[in-house]
Symmetry: C2
Subunit: 488 residues, 2 copies
C-alpha cells in the first residue's frame, strides 16, 4: 500500500496529493476548484473546529450567522478592501431556471435577472459591518465579540486541495470595540490563540509576527500572522488576525455614544483560520508511508487489531482494554473485520496516521502482553496487558510532544541568517526555510526581492530585536531583521 | 418590556416576528430573503445541532462536505427532481468583478462568463450522487452513511424568519445501500430519530407519517415526515426522510457488484432538518411575555439575579450554588450587571425564555432561602438554599415534561375527526388543527380540497388503521383516514 505514495524526495507536490487521496482526506469535485472533504478528512477538521470553538468561547466570543451573499455595491464601500481583494469571485446574476424550450434540460430564465448582482462571500467584513450599524448604539453594546463558521468562495485560478480552493470552510471572527487599545489587544489575543492551537494541538511550531504593508489584508491597519514551515522548506501562513482600525466603521457608518455621550467610530478586528490548516497538518508531520496525525487531533487515537482474526478470547481481552482506554477519554477502534488480513490493516491504519496501534494474538495473551506500535517513529514494543491503558495514555502524550519537537528541530535546521543577496539566493536554492535578513522597509524593495527570488516577507516577528544592518538588496540602513521565505 | 410584544390573540404572525426580534434570535439582512441569525438564536441552534449530530453518529453516520455549487446540467439528470424543484435558485454566471470604467464602484467583468452556469445548492442529491459513483464499487463499500451540515439556497418569494428563507442552514443525510429493504429501514430510522429529537429535546409532539404522492419530495419514491402543530392551529412539517429508490443511482450511473459479482444499481435515502426547527420551537412554546425554551435546548438553563445588586455576601452564596449546578451539568449565568435593575433583568430573561430564574437578596440569605421562578408557568416559590441544586435539577426536568404535555394537550384539543366537507370547513375556520378525514386516494381530489380550503394532506400516519369510509369530497370509498391541516 505504501508503494502507492510517491516519496517526498522524488516529488513533494505529488507526495502531498497522494497522501490527501490515499488517506481519504479530500478530492476534487465536478466543480472547478471546489473540493469534496471526505468523511475521514472531515473528522479531523471537526476535531480542529471543536477545539478552536472552545477557545473562542472561553475568551467570550459567541457564534452567529450572516448571509452567504453580499450585494455588489457593499464591496466597493471600503476602498482598500475592494482594491486588494474580491475581484475573482462568484457572481450571482439570476434567480430562476426554466425548461429549455428548444429541447432537453434547463436554461437560465432571462427574465429573472437581479437588479443588483450578489457576490458569494469571499469574506464577510462588509455585510457584517453593515449589520453592526443596527446593533451598536452605545458603549454599553461594546465590545461585540462574534465569530461565524461558514463556507467562502474565492475564484482561485490554480487550486490545490486544502491549500487553495475556490470554496473553503473557515471561521471568521469580527469584533467591535470602543477603543483602539482594546481592539489591538483583541487582535493580539486571537493571534496568540491561533499560535497556541497550532503548537499545542497541531504540534506545528509557528512564528508569531506581523505583516509588512505589502502583505497586509485589504482594509487592515495591521495584520498579525502565524507562519509555519513545511517539510520542503516552504512557509505556510496558518492564520491571520487583523486590526482594522476604524476603516469598516467609517465605510458603513458605525458609531457609538461613548461614556461622555460623544459619538465616535467603532474600532474593529477580524481573524480567521480555514481548512488550509489541514494542509499544514499534513505537510508538517506525514511521511512516505502516509498521513501522521497528532494524537490531540486524531478522530481515532488507538486502533486494536486481532492477530490473525478476532476470537472470543481476544475479544474479551480487547473489551477490557477498550473500557480502560475510554475511561481515560481515549478514542479507540477495534477492527474485527475478518475479510482483511493483519498486514493489510497495518498498512491501512499507517496510511491514515492513527497514532497508536495495538496488535494482540493468542501468544501475546498467553504471555500477558500486547504489541504496541507508534505511528510517528514506527517503533514497536511488547507491553504488559496490566496497566496498558496508562502506558498508552503516556505514549500518546509522548507522540504529541515528539511531533512538535521534530517539527521544531526541522525548523531550526532550516532557519538562516543572511546578510547579502548572494547568501539569500544560495539558501533559497539549496536549503529553503526561513531566512532572517535586513530589509530597508520599503514596499519597492520587497517587491523587487519577490520578483528576483519568489521569496516574500512572511512577517516581522512580534519579538523582533533592534539590530543595525544593511538591506540585502539596496544596502540602505535597517534596524531589524525580517523573515523571508518562499511560501504556499 | 413585555408590552413590546403583540399578543397572540391580536395578531399571531406579528407576535411571532416580535418574539424573533425581541428575543434576539434573528433578523432580516440587506440581502432579500436572507436572514442574520443573531448570537442568542444561534446558541439554541447549536444545541439542536449538537444533539442531532450525536444521534446521527450513534447510528453510524459520518459527516463530510460537498461543494456549494452544482453544475446546471446535473439538475436535469433526474427528471422528477428538476420538475418539482430547483427552478427558483441562485445562478452564478460570472467569476470576476472589475472597476467600473465609467466611474465609481465595480461591475461584473463581461469576459468572465462561465461556460456552464453554477447553481447554489438548493439540496445536494445530484452533486453527491455524482461523487458516489467514484466511491461505490462493491457491496463492501455499502452502506455509505453520510451527513453534511451546510447552507442551502432556494429563491423563495415570500420569506419569513426561520420558517422560509432564501438561505437557510440544515443538515442533509445521503445514504447508499445494497438493498431496497435496508434503504427503507434507514429512511424509517431517520424519521424516528427526528421524532425522538422533536419530542424529547424540543418538547414538540409530532405525528410520524408519510406523504401522499402529491406532497412527496421531487425524486423520492416515498417521503416520511414528522408533523407538528403550532399554537395557531397550523401544521408545520418539521423534518423529512426520503426513500429515493434507485432514481439517483440511475441518473448518475451508480452501480455496485453484489456478493454474487452481479452489477446492480444502488438504493438511496436522503433526510434533512433545518433552521426551520427554530420556528417550530418558538411557535410551540412561547407566550405573550416572550420566548420559552425547553431546558434541554436552552444555552443558559438558569440565571441568578442578585437583589437588588451583587455584594460580597450574595456573591459567595451564588458562587456555591453555581458550583453545585455546574457539577450537575447545568448551565448557569450570574448577572452581576450593576447598571440594570432587577425588574428589568426579570423581564429580559423572561423575554429570552431562560427556563429557571433564581433571585437572591439579603433577607433571603438570612432566611437561608432563594426565590425560584419557572418560565413555563411563571410560578414562583421560596426554596431552601440547602439542596437547591437538586431542586433546580428536578425543576428543569419538570419544565421539560410540562412543556411537552402542554403541547400534547393543545394538539389533542385541536385534533378532529370529520366525515363531511361541511364539518371539514367548519373545523378549519373555527378551530384549526389536525383533521382526520377520509380521502379517495387521488391526486385530483387532494388538489381540489387544497383549492377549496387551503388545507393539504400533511401525512398518512405510519400507524394508520383500516376503517371503511367515504371521501369527504367525492364520496368515493376510502379505507383509512389521512391527516389534513393548513400548514406553514
Amino acid at each position: 500500500m505504501a508503494k502507492e505514495i510517491t516519496s517526498r524526495e522524488e516529488d513533494y507536490s505529488q507526495w502531498y496529493l497522494d497522501i490527501v487521496k490515499k488517506a481519504n482526506l479530500a478530492q476534487n469535485s465536478a466543480v472547478r476548484g471546489c473540493m469534496v472533504i471526505k468523511p475521514y478528512g472531515f473528522s479531523i477538521w471537526e476535531k480542529m473546529q471543536g477545539q478552536l470553538d472552545k477557545m473562542f468561547k472561553e475568551t467570550g466570543h459567541q457564534n452567529a450567522y450572516f448571509p452567504i451573499f453580499i450585494p455588489k455595491s457593499f464591496l466597493s464601500k471600503e476602498a482598500a478592501h475592494i482594491e486588494g481583494f474580491a475581484k475573482e469571485c462568484a457572481v450571482v446574476t439570476h434567480h430562476r431556471l426554466m425548461n429549455d424550450p428548444n429541447g432537453e434540460g434547463v436554461i437560465v430564465d432571462p427574465t429573472s435577472k437581479l437588479e443588483e448582482e450578489l457576490i458569494v462571500r469571499p469574506t464577510s467584513e462588509t455585510i457584517i459591518w453593515n449589520t453592526y450599524r443596527d446593533w451598536i448604539n452605545s458603549y454599553r453594546d461594546l465590545p461585540l465579540l462574534i465569530n461565524q463558521w461558514c463556507n467562502v468562495v474565492r475564484w482561485e485560478m490554480r487550486t490545490r486541495l486544502f491549500l487553495r480552493t475556490a470554496e473553503f470552510l473557515w471561521q471568521e471572527g469580527h469584533t467591535a470595540h470602543a477603543t483602539k487599545e482594546e481592539a489591538i489587544a483583541e487582535t493580539k489575543q486571537m493571534q496568540e490563540i491561533y499560535a497556541t492551537f497550532a503548537e499545542e494541538y497541531m504540534a506545528v511550531p509557528v512564528i508569531r509576527g506581523f505583516k509588512s504593508e505589502n502583505e497586509r489584508f485589504a482594509g487592515a491597519v495591521d495584520t498579525f500572522t502565524i507562519e509555519a514551515l513545511m517539510q520542503d522548506g516552504k512557509a505556510l501562513q496558518a492564520g491571520t488576525s487583523h486590526f482594522l482600525g476604524q476603516n469598516f466603521a467609517k465605510a458603513f457608518d458605525v458609531k457609538f455614544l461613548n461614556e461622555n455621550q460623544k459619538s465616535e467610530y467603532v474600532w474593529a478586528t477580524s481573524w480567521g483560520v480555514s481548512t488550509r490548516l489541514m494542509g499544514a497538518l499534513i505537510m508538517t508531520h506525514s511521511d512516505d508511508e502516509g498521513l501522521v496525525v497528532p494524537p490531540k487531533l486524531a478522530s481515532t487515537q488507538v486502533v486494536i487489531i486481532p492477530i490473525p482474526k478476532p476470537n472470543d478470547e481476544i475479544d474479551t481481552a480487547v473489551e477490557k482494554i477498550m473500557t480502560e482506554l475510554k475511561a481515560k477519554g481515549i478514542t479507540v477502534k477495534y477492527d474485527q473485520d475478518k475479510k482483511k488480513r493483519p498486514g493489510f490493516k497495518f498498512a491501512e491504519y499507517e496510511m491514515h496516521g492513527i497514532p497508536v496501534r495495538l496488535a494482540i494474538g493468542k501468544r501475546d495473551l498467553a504471555n500477558g502482553v500486547v504489541e504496541v506500535a507508534r505511528r510517528d517513529t514506527k517503533e514497536k514494543s511488547s507491553q504488559p496487558l496490566e496497566g496498558i491503558a496508562d502506558h498508552v495514555e503516556q505514549l500518546l502524550e509522548d507522540i504529541q510532544n515528539n511531533l512538535f519537537q521534530r517539527a521544531l528541530d526541522h525548523r531550526a535546521a532550516h532557519t538562516s541568517h543572511v546578510d547579502t543577496m548572494e547568501e539569500f539566493q544560495d539558501v533559497l536554492e539549496n536549503k529553503g526555510g526561513f531566512i532572517y535578513a535586513h530589509w530597508d522597509g520599503t514596499v519597492e524593495t520587497e517587491k523587487k526581492i519577490k520578483e528576483l527570488t519568489k521569496a516574500t516577507i512572511r512577517c516581522i516577528p512580534n519579538d523582533w530585536t533592534e539590530e543595525e544592518g544593511k538591506c540585502i538588496l539596496t544596502g540602505n540602513p535597517s534596524n531589524r531583521r525580517v523573515v523571508f521565505a518562499k511560501a504556499y
